[in-house]
Subunit: 207 residues, 2 copies
């Protein structure tokens, strides 16, 4: 439905907001009316935060994660295991893995995943720079931590092939039943995979 807005400024703002993924025109209007009720400084800060981020953001030269310096704090952290590199799709996965407090190695952010349907090929991702990073040596293990989707599998396989000439162990995060899930409701592929990849019982794994 073509809505009539009483103000061109308002319509323009709604148009801009509605370009965001998952934000329709009704939500856009609701968010903008909220911002209009705030004072000028709030709206200025909101805008400025976005513009500053967009113009000043840097990507770590080593792992390609978003950061404020040339090299991110994780890559600079000497207490971390620099011989292990975890390959992830995006910064969100870095944050999720960091939150588990179970990983002390470094990262490599691909900036996406191979997806022919979206027109994303290997050349659009940080795969060449990963190969280069491995070829310079000092890395023993590459952990592939991509989504368990068709695209994730394709990307995993592509990277695995690219790294095969090098003397580096390539591993993959475990796939299996989520903790808290009931076996009864698990899908067959996951359940089948979790039986094939069973691990020795270990007291310390108890929830």
């Amino acid at each position: 439905m073509n809505q009539k807005y009483p103000s061109a400024l308002l319509e323009n703002a709604v148009n801009e907001f509605a370009k965001l993924p998952g934000i329709g025109r009704k939500t856009a209007l609701r968010l903008i009316l909220h911002l209009l009720r705030q004072d000028d400084a709030t709206v200025d800060n909101f805008s400025q935060a976005l513009v500053s981020l967009k113009h000043q953001v840097k990507y770590c030269k080593v792992c390609h994660n978003i950061c404020d310096d040339e090299v991110c704090s994780t890559c600079q952290d000497k207490s971390r295991d620099s011989a292990t590199v975890c390959v992830v799709e995006n910064i969100k996965e870095v944050m999720a893995i960091e939150n588990t407090m179970q990983y002390k190695g470094l990262y490599h952010v691909l900036g996406g995943i191979i997806s022919p349907i979206d027109g994303i090929g290997p050349a659009d991702l940080e795969i060449e720079s990963l190969v280069e990073r491995i070829s310079t040596g000092g890395i023993n293990e590459v952990i592939l931590a991509l989504s368990t989707t068709m695209e994730g599998d394709t990307t995993n396989f592509y990277i695995y092939k690219k790294l095969s000439p090098y003397n580096v162990k390539v591993s993959m995060i475990a796939r299996g039943i989520s903790i808290g899930d009931e076996i009864e409701y698990a899908d067959e592929v996951t359940l089948g995979r979790s039986i094939l990849n069973r691990t020795l019982f270990n007291e310390s794994y108890r929830i």
Copy 2:
């Protein structure tokens, strides 16, 4: 959970976005990563649209709707019925009513609704200006088109009392079964009200 962001600029942008109603930190991050993938101009336009709106927005001197001039195009429209004023909570309701193409009168935007729990009293709303508008004459009917909630009822009653000294008809939009709804699933209050306020059968009302 206290997330660790790899960039202070990013964290700042997420903080600003997450202040919006209904936008959590995960959604904020997703939207910002989307904006980061766009070119600079897109982000600049987005920010500029908000800042321009906030700094340049005007409110119609007559009906208090958002507009770009001193008096909005609806209030200036000579073809509309200036003797009828529809009282609404906000600009969203003006747009919704305009979309029905069933109303040709003018509006009065309260800018909210009486809600003691949110600390909103009559003085925070454009009620005094409505009374003034009525007292100057030329208006025959005031249609109350507020939400059918406790707050809407309270505001309706307050306005009704305020307007009682003046020679103006005060009406209220019909409450009843929504078109397309099944009687079986209607709540008792709505169904009871729809029986009390039954209207004469009219061919032209057929869906």
